[in-house]
């Protein structure tokens, strides 16, 4: 483990060193790619600027709200559709059709409907994240072991009890995968909405840095969005491990 870590750290250090050396050596104009040190200074400047923290809060707010809405709608509808075979048959074609529609296609629409407001951002985020959740929940519900379900029935468990004791535990790993995918997609659409529409947030700050030619700040803000993405991935993995600590995929190394 520690060996892997040291390789990884060396890789990171090498990456930063390359970022420092390439512009200094004149391989690319420093106006396009400032050396790592300058980006670090710009990052420091951002961190001491109140406006940056406000933008970060706006982005996180859109992300959390959008993800919550998409997740609750996806789970509720997924369980409902998945548990009723007729509904599953009826909705299959529509879900297949709506899912690949790129959520950015909605950008012009939300601009005329809501302008540069939180609603615009939320529509994009919820639309994109909802499908990730719904499809995973549907897969999960389909995975229920018929023998387990029959057994539960034989023991006289009602519909509600079977949902709690059979369906939900089966679907949970899929729900967690969906949540992880949805969390990443939600961040992308959140920042995209801010960047393209101008809804307040990190994306909008990036757009301002670009139009004012503040290249080191542009890179610093991109680094921040990347770190935010890493934090979200790591957080989602942790939540997944915690929620599935009873599941084979997590405790498998010890037990099986």
């Amino acid at each position: 483990m520690s060996r892997t870590w040291s390789y990884g750290l060396a890789g990171l250090a090498g990456f930063v060193a390359l970022l420092e050396v390439i512009p200094r050596a004149g391989l690319v104009p420093a106006g396009y790619l400032p050396p790592a040190a300058e980006i670090a200074v710009a990052l420091g400047g951002e961190l001491t600027d109140v406006a940056f923290w406000v933008a970060l809060r706006d982005t996180l707010q859109g992300w959390v709200l959008g993800l919550l809405l998409a997740a609750s709608a996806g789970i509720a509808l997924g369980l409902l559709i998945g548990a009723v075979p007729v509904l599953r048959e009826l909705t299959a074609s529509t879900i297949e059709f709506l899912r690949p529609i790129p959520s950015v296609a909605l950008i012009p629409l939300v601009v005329v409907l809501y302008g540069a407001s939180l609603q615009s951002k939320l529509v994009l985020v919820v639309y994109a994240a909802f499908w990730q959740m719904l499809v995973q929940v549907l897969y999960g519900v389909r995975d229920v072991d018929p023998v387990a379900d029959e057994t539960a029935r034989a023991y006289g468990l009602g519909r509600g009890a079977r949902i709690v004791h059979v369906l939900w535990p089966t679907a949970l790993p899929y729900v967690m995968t969906g949540l992880r995918l949805a969390a990443a997609v939600a961040l992308i659409l959140c920042v995209t909405g801010e960047l393209v529409i101008g809804v307040p947030g990190l994306g909008a700050r990036i757009a301002v840095a670009q139009s004012s030619g503040a290249v080191p700040d542009l890179y610093a803000l991109i680094v921040v969005t990347g770190l935010l993405g890493v934090a979200i991935n790591v957080g989602a993995r942790a939540v997944e491990r915690h929620a599935l600590r009873w599941h084979q995929s997590v405790r498998g190394e010890v037990a099986v």
């Binding site: 529509t94 690949p100 012009p108 920042v191 393209v196 969005t225």
Partner: protein, 252 residues
């Protein structure tokens, strides 16, 4: 019977849309009738050639390049545990950057031409493909790898007969994620600084308040996403037919 199931809900939804908007006075939500009547006037063969075709070509070029690059680099990284341990944190970070924020940076380097748009698509699409390839190559069955070695399967033959087929399902899963990203990035790159393309056209309609025209563009973009994902599924069935067959056989 299947067909009835497939068609019922879509027909109901479109009908509901038609009826709900039939008498719509809302400037931003025109009747579906108006939208459909506008479509043939907007999406003439000329416009399809000057706006939709270039978008599609850029999309295919970007997606194709990302596929080549992702698989090639993924095989290299996946093949060596040390290389993998070294680059993994950097890859995790780069992948976590929301791809659209790279548009301003790529504009610095590549201006606002076709090259920039293709680069934007590549820069976003390459990660799911690359990381999935790494995972796929890493999980190549050890016994198979040993057997291949003892039969003297090396170099390109090893790549074609062992590594790529073994990693195939993972690579395809990554490519599917990349395809939906490609469409998103195609539209975004055209919404920034462009003078042609589907994304550009739709934003122009929006800015000039040509609302029914804007709706036709949104619907066209939706259809494009559906058609592309359908084509992808066809390609997947051809490429991975052996794998799905194997899975079915194993499940009995």
């Amino acid at each position: 019977m299947r067909l009835v199931y497939w068609l019922t809900l879509p027909v109901v939804l479109v009908a509901a849309w038609w009826v709900a908007t039939a008498g719509s006075e809302d400037f931003y939500v025109p009747p579906l009738r108006t939208i459909l009547e506008t479509a043939p006037d907007v999406w003439t063969p000329t416009r399809l050639r000057t706006d939709v075709l270039p978008s599609l070509l850029r999309l295919l070029a970007g997606f194709g390049l990302a596929l080549l690059l992702g698989v090639a680099v993924g095989v290299l990284i996946g093949g060596s545990p040390r290389v993998r341990a070294t680059v993994e944190p950097v890859l995790e970070f780069v992948r976590a950057v929301p791809p659209p924020v790279l548009v301003p940076v790529i504009m610095l380097f590549a201006g606002i031409g076709d090259g920039m748009k293709i680069l934007v698509i590549v820069s976003g699409c390459v990660w799911p493909i690359l990381l999935n390839t790494v995972e796929g190559v890493r999980a190549v069955d050890g016994v198979l790898a040993e057997t291949a070695r003892s039969y003297g399967l090396t170099g390109p033959a090893r790549l074609w007969r062992l590594v790529l087929p073994a990693a195939g399902p993972q690579i395809v899963a990554g490519a599917r994620q990349a395809l939906s990203l490609a469409i998103i990035l195609m539209v975004i790159s055209e919404m920034f600084a462009a003078s042609s393309g589907l994304g550009y056209t739709i934003v122009e309609f929006q800015r000039s308040f040509a609302i029914p025209e804007m709706w036709t563009g949104i619907i066209l973009l939706g259809l494009l996403g559906v058609v592309l994902s359908g084509l992808f599924r066809l390609a997947e069935n051809v490429l991975l037919g052996w794998y799905h067959g194997l899975r079915r056989a194993q499940k009995g």
